[in-house]
């Protein structure tokens, strides 16, 4: 050993760098199975079509007047919608219509419709005015 040959020290350095890199990669791979499931689930589970269906069926009901005949129809629909929502969508669904509001303009009278939908994951509340053409 005439003199110390330090030409090859980079090999040792690379060894340290590669080892550290592999260690960090191993930690990242270890964490990998924990993500993914819940995020994709949340997007799939939003009941967009169910809510659209319900609104589609409720809009004509909300246009009815305040006669006893219409009230009967609405009460029946309430029961049916409630039972159907629970059977098909596992959701709690209520709606109210109010045709006694005195909101009106020149051509339209406005009935109030409130919808409440809850399937345990998504809670939806809507209140909107349905226009009825004045005679």
């Amino acid at each position: 050993m005439e003199r110390l040959d330090d030409e090859g020290q980079w090999i040792v350095l690379m060894g340290v760098v590669v080892a550290t890199g592999m260690f960090i990669l191993a930690i990242i791979i270890n964490q990998a199975p924990m993500v993914g499931q819940s995020t994709s689930e949340a997007v799939l589970e939003f009941p967009k079509n169910e809510i659209q269906d319900i609104r589609y069926h409720l809009a004509p009901l909300a246009q009815l007047d305040n006669s006893s005949e219409s009230n009967k129809t609405i009460d029946r629909a309430k029961k049916d919608m409630r039972a159907l929502s629970m059977a098909r969508n596992n959701a709690v669904m209520y709606f109210e219509t109010n045709s006694t509001t005195n909101m009106a303009d020149l051509f339209y009278r406005y009935n109030r419709l409130t919808i409440r939908y809850n399937n345990g994951v998504t809670e939806y509340y809507e209140e909107h005015l349905v226009s009825v053409r004045l005679p």
Binding site: N30, Q37, N90, G120
Partner: protein, 268 residues
Amino acid sequence: MKGNWVKGMEDDGVSEAIGFILIFTIVVLGITIVTLYGYPLLQKSQIGSDERIMEQNMITLQNDLKILTFSNVPYRDTTMGISGGSIFVLDSAETAEDDHYFNVSFNNGTGPETKTFRLGALRFISSQGQAAISVENGAVVKRYQDAEGSTMVADPRWFYDDTYDTLVLFFTEIKADRAMSGDGVANIQMSMLDPPKVVADVPYGAHRTVTIEYSPDDTFDYSTAWKNYLTGPTIVDGGFTEIGNNMYQFTEVSRLVIKKYTVTIERV
């Protein structure tokens, strides 16, 4: 050995043989330490990672059950790699024998009524570790067999609508016509051919009391998990009140809906 490599330093005592022995000893010591301490540590982390993967697999199974039950799909199958243990299917009749069931007591409008729900389970038991992870009643619960407690990995979808004070309880019964178990790569086929049943739908009008009782299996006791779920804020802020051993009560229910699904495991 050559002459003085640093001026003024004697190298008479330098021996190649002793140097080799020293280096060899260090190498052997290193190998020994790694085999004695490093290897068990590696194995332990392997068990831990197996358990974590299985936890994830059980959540996948729970999701499939959710699709089967809540989305009204009749058939569903999942293929999963099962590592570090086996998965078992327990028929609801078998779990009922072990006193493993739910009781729900409520007023049905005319008088008090108690309904019993048998559960059944899909259970993973670690072969090297102590973990037992179960899918029971739509929830994923985990416990260690040498320890007391248990924890809920994924909740069932029970909920309470506070606008109209409606409590909705879903019960999922797992049936299997024979004992089944799987390891390695398992294909789990399940079906829901019986339509879901609305067991109770009672509109009270006024606030009534609902009592839930969880009766745990002695060996696989997940009562802590259910207790934390029911008394915690997941279903309703403030949770159910614990009124006795594994008995929980909630008083502000204006409408109670109980739905029951029966899922059959066809094959593992």
